[in-house]
Symmetry: D2
Subunit: 475 residues, 4 copies
């Protein structure tokens, strides 16, 4: 899917007596790479001394064996993967950020977006604060640091800071002697922790990262909760819990998270097959075969097939070698012909009525291309089913959605869209079903603002209009 | 699958008036990357002047935009992707090779292995020939060049050379004014050609590479056939056709080729689903779910599911970001725990009786690890089904199979193997069924030497024993 | 010379209507590369928007054509080259630093060392300030930013900040609309400005960087002076001028600066030839030939030759291809034999009494090796003359001198040193003469603390003892 | 100097029991880097097994520690540095070349140019030989290989091959058990050997490379001599010695060789100071100071100063950090102003009458720029003296001289040239003096063809005219 991007994945290690905290974080970030592919970083704590490295690029590119080795031994660490726009400042905006303050050093990794960072920043600048980056994360660092002056502990400073910062944040914070995980009151972004059998605590955005380092999942961090890992073990601060109704991003289930992760008690894969089943019920059709767009449409395709009884098949082969420096064909006229990235299997679709499952339609151009591939391969009918509702609104909680100008659902009805992309029929998942993906009728505590415009965490005062329009003007 | 490697993919372009032969080859090699990931190269023909570049690495790494640009315009070209052992000589052994001889320049790309290259080389050296590489390809170049002295044309030289070279070869040869495709009499390796709608001829190891450049498939090159592309169009030389019974490598269907390719009239995906169906018939079992090991076991899993009626599911998530420089966990003890590359989806297998489909078992260590992952994820029974017969013999026709010492099937019965890998039951595809994958009972013209030891193309006289044993000693 | 390092070079551009400020800075930094070879950076101002790039490495390595291109057009810019110890934080410590504050953005490049940065930093931290780096430069940024809140202009903020910061600093500061150059009251480090014939103002550590961009030298920035470049032209603020007696680092003449630079009215080359002449007067000797150690001993060798009448000759060839990744011979025993970096010309020294001129002796090991090379090449007598006095004290004003433990002059008399390095005689320049290098008897306003321990700018209170000893323990 | 390029440097090691032949070659090539900066390579012999690596780039760039390590241990080795035109085939043309032939492997490094390679190559191609490169070196390999079939030893094959190959060649050849050094009958290019104190034999183009590995110089290889290093020690074959009068390239003394080398008994530095002295006698002038263009004009400047009594001075500072990726200023108009690479020292030349010494004038553009720099710096008179005669003819023996169209001396008289470059007077070294540089009146055995058109080794029949004109048309 193009046009929608998660902004971050976070990871933390505490109490690794073997001293391989950096290595564990490396593997954890690999497992979280899908949450951010632009930049990554690791900060290691070796008895209070922090060593860090971060740069633009995939984990694989940024951390060579030598580079990882140089981070040295450590019992605790924090890691981050990031999605971000390209530009000169990018490397500066990479995380975790490390700051030195009155009580020592602090490393901080953040997934989410504040809605009041502009106000907080202005206030800090009025007091003479200087900023090296344009990220919310630096603002959070300042707020915590200011509170730290008068707080007896770092966790108390975080607790106080949470009164000030508004919006979406899943944080992993490392002090010289502690690791702290904190999640905003709405719980927009996932965050969980586990433990390896040698007693090392692991904090991660998703459980797949716990699996990657062989850690047993313990539980999700609750919305509003602060979990402190220190030499006395694990401790929870719940002052901010239960203040508001939780509203986790439903798109974590639909698209962002890895299918092998379990979030708030529900398997992502299972949520997606359920999306497929809902689609089969909401938009039934007579057809010969169900196929999914790899990789993100496959789970829902299996669900649609099971619910409908129409056989599941493998419809496309995705070229897995296309890397960062792939040279795209230049000539416009050629673009439709080339099947470099995705090639249909003719034998599967030729002469068949095909149900095609994808996880979303943003601008519609990619969908149109895929439908054409199938048509050229001999499919007689193509019924597109989308395992998400139509995108109609911007997200202020850490997802980068294309501008309204570009969202096809903002400009066209479902029927028009079907025509534009060349499908014989088109059906989206309903917002009601989307809310039931994880926990059926119980599961109403989700944010579906991008679909229905109801923002459970408020919206930025100053910048709301500007941000959205600026994005448009940049195209 | 570890331990089995294809050695090459070839690609050729002729008659591209737009002058973008290099670009077309670049896309073609991307589509053939699965056939060789160690090295690659492109030679471009601009009005008789050849420009070439080749190096160790994936297409994506070797060809930057600048590098591709430097190859310049050209109406014809030859490309190659290669699997090879690492070592100092690797770059020298990359293909295509370009040689200058009495009648001009010649570029040559080769997929396969000669069985008499040692004899041919010795003879040439006795006449004072010098060799820059250790590859068969240089031997073929010499033989063609020698014949060229007394032949009226390059194709006639190739035709004569085919009397001398024995074994497996799918060749693409470029002279200043022609492109020639040739396939050995047994047709061990695939080779086909097609045409784009601007009249450019494309030769490729597999049809997926034709798709990648938007070319219409015309037909496979026949075993023993030489196809000549020049200013007069396409011409076929069939002197070597029909001399022996064709015997294409059956493992092309089972593992090497891409599922979206069609070889000798049969879809690779369909052949694989058929393998799954045969497995269901030969080794039925009561179970709750069928899953495949990604990516190569998925097609057969769909086939097994359809034949058996047991539901297909997505059982594993493969980390698609693991690159070349991934740092493997050092400690032996950790290795089993980490699920970095492949993570099972617990919800799918927990409490279930699982049919697990993979395309082969070589040493058994990978299978044992995968079975354990499922067991840890809660599968109650694991029935492994392999969509290929057991490997028992070396290949002399272009496949690099692990040594006998390492092949688990050479040392253990099926029951023992099941025990070793931890499966509740194990079933291999029968050799008889393997021969029927592509064309049912008609399809008996296949090489299955690695399974049954019957070598349709002869074996190397001198080096047979040595080569095989040397490989062992190297481990 | 090993063991003594300058820490920085600074460069600034203002009012370049052609928009090539980045390019000019690139050339300027090339000319200043000798002042810092560990890291470099450029910040460009395009109508108030800053683009920046900095990294570890030489100018040549950090700025590729693409990288420079990406900085875009700009009418003003700031650049920096830096010497620094290697380590994880290095890239973070690269300059110029760019900060965002209440009144906009500010870029800052700094050459020198504060003596009260510890105190200033502690105070700032108490107010909740956070630090991303360990450099003095960030402290200076904070001080200026704090003053900026209540100041009508950036130059006024700088003027006030100069009341607080103590020690050595030559600064180039860029605001969205101005460029500011400031030099500490003692004028420890050089700083000058000039103008190109298209009216662009250039600020630089040395005049050689003005030459590199074709700028005409206007004048040195005076100790304590602030020079402001803005749309109204050039303006000088002299509130801090004349408060203390100037004391420029005499080692700028002896070693740091490039011979083709002119500092405070005196040619560096001429100062060095004068050093050679003083040596000839202070330590005359009967000899056949005078040679210098390339490159830094050559100027003084010419001066010694002229004063003494003993012929000047080229005694060594230095290998100019030795790069960063040169692999040093591993075996201790070989080290003396290899003449890879420096090879004597036998014909010049064989059978001769040689006067050997170098600019300094730090540990003595390099000198010993050079003397041995000459002895092996057949020199009958070797009289070493050093164009600087012996190093006896640490520098707190921006020079990184080896620790006392390592300084041979702290442990041995001149006679002992001669013996240790294997010279027949040894003579250092007197401190008195050092003070006369630039302006004869007039020129007494120099800092010679490293030779005589008289610190004209004070010393750090807290850290003095610690810093010096830490350095020792690190070895 | 632009426009004149040496083509190669060669290096060999034999009998290094410590197994560090690769390392020694690495240091040797560093010392020979000035002879070829485009490509380099090393082949190591470990008990008959050759490991090799070569690539485009400086020794420093091509050989990382890992790369050198991978070459492994070896008792013998061959190395090469190369100058060559850029292009796609460049890497293929890098040396040493390694070939496999009837009697095993052979590695070959070559400095020079054959005059009959076209004829030899045509003949070989008629016999079916194929060529991978366009270099003379591959031709030589073939000739030796062909002779090897009927020769009892590799040295005998080389001896016979020398009857066939004509022109300039200094060769280092490595067989599995021997190292062979051979020099053409005219001795156009230098070649010498020495021995380290652990008994390792070293062959090198120049003595500076012996110094670099701590080897004692033994003697030059004689023109026409073959020296064999094997387990029986050192053996000389002199069948080709004394057939023709030796004619070493005089430009080796004037420009190519390093000043610290000794060739055929004469120090290069001394030959150059002698050139300066001859210039002083042939073209005396009243002046205040003598300066040389760094680095190649410095030795002659010292010689001119001594002979004339006019004081020597350091006139320019050369920026030693300008690397391969330096971005040249784009605007034509700026080019003259920038003094990035070479900056005059004003104090030295202002108000002075200057004698300016350079080693050659090719096109005159560089000289004009340098003269202008001095004029701008305040020199009142500039008298240019060139320590070589004017270039008037192409070289067929391994030097790449600019085409006649570009040589200023082919188109203009000395007076005109002086005017063009802006000098007050101009004087070249006479051809007669050039012949006396090394050994006074004895030394008449030199090739001065580029100055006087007398070709002691013959000229290529077919290609002479073409090669020269092609070069012109390429511009």
């Amino acid at each position: 899917m193009n046009g929608i991007h998660e902004e971050c994945g976070v990871f933390g290690v505490y109490g690794n007596n073997a001293g391989i905290a950096a290595q564990l974080t490396y593997y954890g970030l690999y497992a979280l790479q899908h949450r951010g592919q632009e930049a990554c970083g690791i900060v290691v704590n070796d008895d209070g001394v922090f060593a860090s490295y971060k740069d633009i690029g995939l984990v694989n590119d940024v951390f060579s064996p030598e580079r990882l080795e140089k981070l040295g031994k450590g019992t605790a660490s924090v890691g981050h993967v990031r999605y971000g726009t390209t530009g000169n400042n990018d490397r500066a905006n990479a995380q975790p950020i490390v700051v030195n303050h009155i009580k020592g050093s602090m490393a901080l990794a953040h997934n989410g977006n504040l809605v009041n960072s502009f106000e907080l920043r202005s206030e800090l600048e009025l007091q003479g604060s200087i900023f090296h980056t344009t990220s919310d994360t630096e603002v959070i660092s300042y707020i915590i640091t200011k509170e730290r002056i008068t707080s007896p502990s770092i966790e108390e400073a975080v607790n106080k800071a949470m009164n000030e910062i508004k919006g979406a944040y899943s944080l992993v914070i490392m002090s010289p002697s502690k690791l702290i995980a904190a999640r905003d009151e709405n719980g927009f972004r996932p965050l969980c922790f586990g433990k390896t059998d040698d007693g090392t605590y692991i904090v991660a955005s998703e459980t797949c990262a716990l699996d990657a380092v062989g850690a047993e999942f313990i539980r999700d961090i609750k919305p509003g909760e602060i979990v402190v890992f220190d030499k006395n073990g694990v401790r929870s601060i719940t002052d901010h819990c239960g203040k508001v109704k939780p509203s986790m991003c439903v798109f974590e289930y639909i698209y962002f998270a890895r299918p092998d992760s379990v979030i708030d008690g529900c398997s992502v894969h299972t949520a997606r097959t359920r999306a497929g089943a809902f689609l089969a019920l909401e938009h039934p059709v007579q057809a010969d075969v169900v196929i999914g767009v790899p990789d993100s449409g496959l789970d829902a395709a299996v669900g649609y097939s099971k619910q409908s009884g129409i056989p599941y098949e493998i419809g496309f082969i995705k070229n897995k070698y296309i890397g960062r420096t792939f040279i795209a064909p230049g000539q416009k006229s050629r673009e439709n012909k080339v099947k470099i990235k995705l090639n249909p299997i003719s034998d599967v679709v030729k002469g068949k009525r095909v149900v095609l499952i994808d996880d979303s339609i943003v601008r519609g151009t990619t969908s149109a291309r895929i439908v054409k591939l199938l048509r050229d391969a001999g499919a007689t009918e193509i019924h597109m089913r989308v395992s998400a509702p139509p995108f109609l609104n911007p997200c202020y909680y850490g997802t980068d959605i294309d501008s309204k100008e570009n969202l096809i659902a903002c400009k066209h009805s479902v029927e028009e869209t079907a025509k534009i992309i060349g499908a014989d029929s088109l059906g989206y998942l309903s917002v009601e079903s989307a809310k039931k993906l994880a926990h059926g009728d119980e599961g109403t505590g989700y944010c579906t603002a991008c679909f229905d415009g109801k923002y459970p965490g408020g919206i930025p005062q100053e910048t709301r209009k500007n941000r959205f329009e600026k994005k448009i003007s940049e195209k």
